[in-house]
Amino acid sequence: MGFLDISNATKSYGSLEVLHKVDIQVEEGEFLVLVGPSGCGKSTLLNMIAGLEEITTGEIAIKGTAMNGVHPSKRNIAMVFQSYALYPNMTVGENITFGLEMHGVPKPEREKAKAQVAKLLQIEQLLDRKPGQLSGGQRQRVAMGRALVRDPDVFLFDEPLSNLDAKLRVDMRTEIKKLHQELGTTIVYVTHDQIEALTLSTRIAVMNGGYVQQLGTPKEIYDTPANLFVATFMGSPSMNLVPVRIVEQGGGLAAETFNAAGETVYLPFSAPSAELRSYAGQTITLGFRPEAFTDPGGADRDAGNIVELDSEVVVTEPAGSDTFVMTVLGGTECNARMRADVQVRPGDVTRFALNMDKAVVFDPKTEKRIP
């Protein structure tokens, strides 16, 4: 039993089920990120934890107490909203202490808590201003202050950074991470931004179509995605997916495909599982991330199974720190992440190095990863 237990929680509107049997246990101090495209059910799930939407079936419990039907204010949770939801008619200070006031906390204590939080978030000089006079970043801080002051069991964040510009978003991301490390609070955080999910979380639940597609640490999610959806949704640029045929080669297994010129290429697997062997002769999907596909000089020295191959360059995209080089394998475009000063031009045939240690394979019919 965890700190926050979501067991078999479903949500239906009439006969339409939008969230299907979600099961997640969150431990105390964990930072769980719910990530997925819009309409995947992540915000619905968050609202169900908050008590803003009813749980159709199943149970959500905090610290071992079932919360079904309990008023939001009685759950000892706090929430930071996408729009920040600061009360426009109250000052920053009043915004922060409103919740304490509603819970009957006496004024001297409210003031003390307000001062502490203001100091922690460095918003002391803003306390007498109205939300309308604040910048986006300042509002964000105030919204967090309002949540922090309550000292809740669980913090809920609903896409809190999506209204900020790119630079501020990165700064605030770091700040949220620092706060979590300092305070050790339990957080459930909703976002559609997979980078936010990977950087902030201790665990991620990737959601799509009302299902949790995969629940795991950022590393598990990134390195061994459970299915094609997770593979393509997480990571940017997204994972290359190439149709390959499994063939036996020298006692081991290899993926057979062809390069831009149509020449056959063999990509031997490092340690093929028994399960993969059963696919021999069949066509499956090979997935590898752009950083596992690079120029031979830039390849990971520690990798045990680097396959080199030649192919024609379609497009190059210098991105400052790296240069992304596009080629074609197995009839699909593949993105390679090469060193910044690599000298390749579209139309050249150049040498690529693929780290097969990092490659994953999917069954194209079930879309699930083959272990």
Partner: protein
Amino acid sequence: MTMQITDPAVRRTARARPDYRTQLQNWIPKLVLSPSLALILVFVYGFIFFTVYLSFTDSRLLPTFGWVGFENYEKLFRLRHWDIAVTNLVIFSGLYIVLCTAIGLMLAIFLDQKIRGESVLRPIFLYPMALSFIVTGTAWKWFLDPGIGLEHTMHLWGWESFSFDWIKNRDFAIYTVVLAAVWQSSGFVMAMFLAGLRGIDNEMLKAAQMDGASNWQLYRRIIIPQLRPAFLSAFVILSHLAIKSYDLVVALTGGGPGRATEVPATFMYSYTFTRNQMGIGASSAVIMLLTIVAIMVPYLYSELREKK
């Protein structure tokens, strides 16, 4: 699956206390809404039902409950008096709606041309809307009185042949009602169209001009079609005002000369309260309601459905 109960406190999560506050919070909104709903249900829909019922009875001075079927309606449609009232309403509402819309649209388009003094003109066009129909009627009644108003003034100014006695003329009196009503409402329609015009994206107009559209084409092809919602709203509001046009007729002409400006609203009032023909009065009210229903229900339906 084996049911193995080891320690229920650990294995099962505890149930929270029944949360009465949450239960109450679920009921408060409905409780708050209910007095209003009750008032409307009883005093509007209940009363409508009552009037509809009365229209099938032989009520005269007081409501009675002798069922006479459609007799009142048959009588009503044979009455020359009702005939006049309906004809007048058709003339009045037709002209009123068309003129208000035309004048309102024209003034709005003109005012939208970066007119200097717009802030002075706009309130002048609009202020009649703030007046009571009784005040409007009083003002126009006198202004149009041939013995003392406009005609008299023109004669004093030496234009002896000027004649404008419509308000005393059986054939034309209804048009003076139109005049006064248009005077009162056209500014409001102007305001509606002006708001619509101001809401149109200027960049799109610039794009249309780059495409080579003239001002006339711009309005006819691009702007006016986008005012569709304003047209619809104006039509609904004006037709609603037209069918209720009781006050203005009472103040301006009192239904006269003779019965020349009688409309269904005054007809209903006089049959019900002065002629003691309540059954017929009720049936005329039902006809008025049905007319409004035919206009309003589709409008409200589309408005509310879109808002969802």
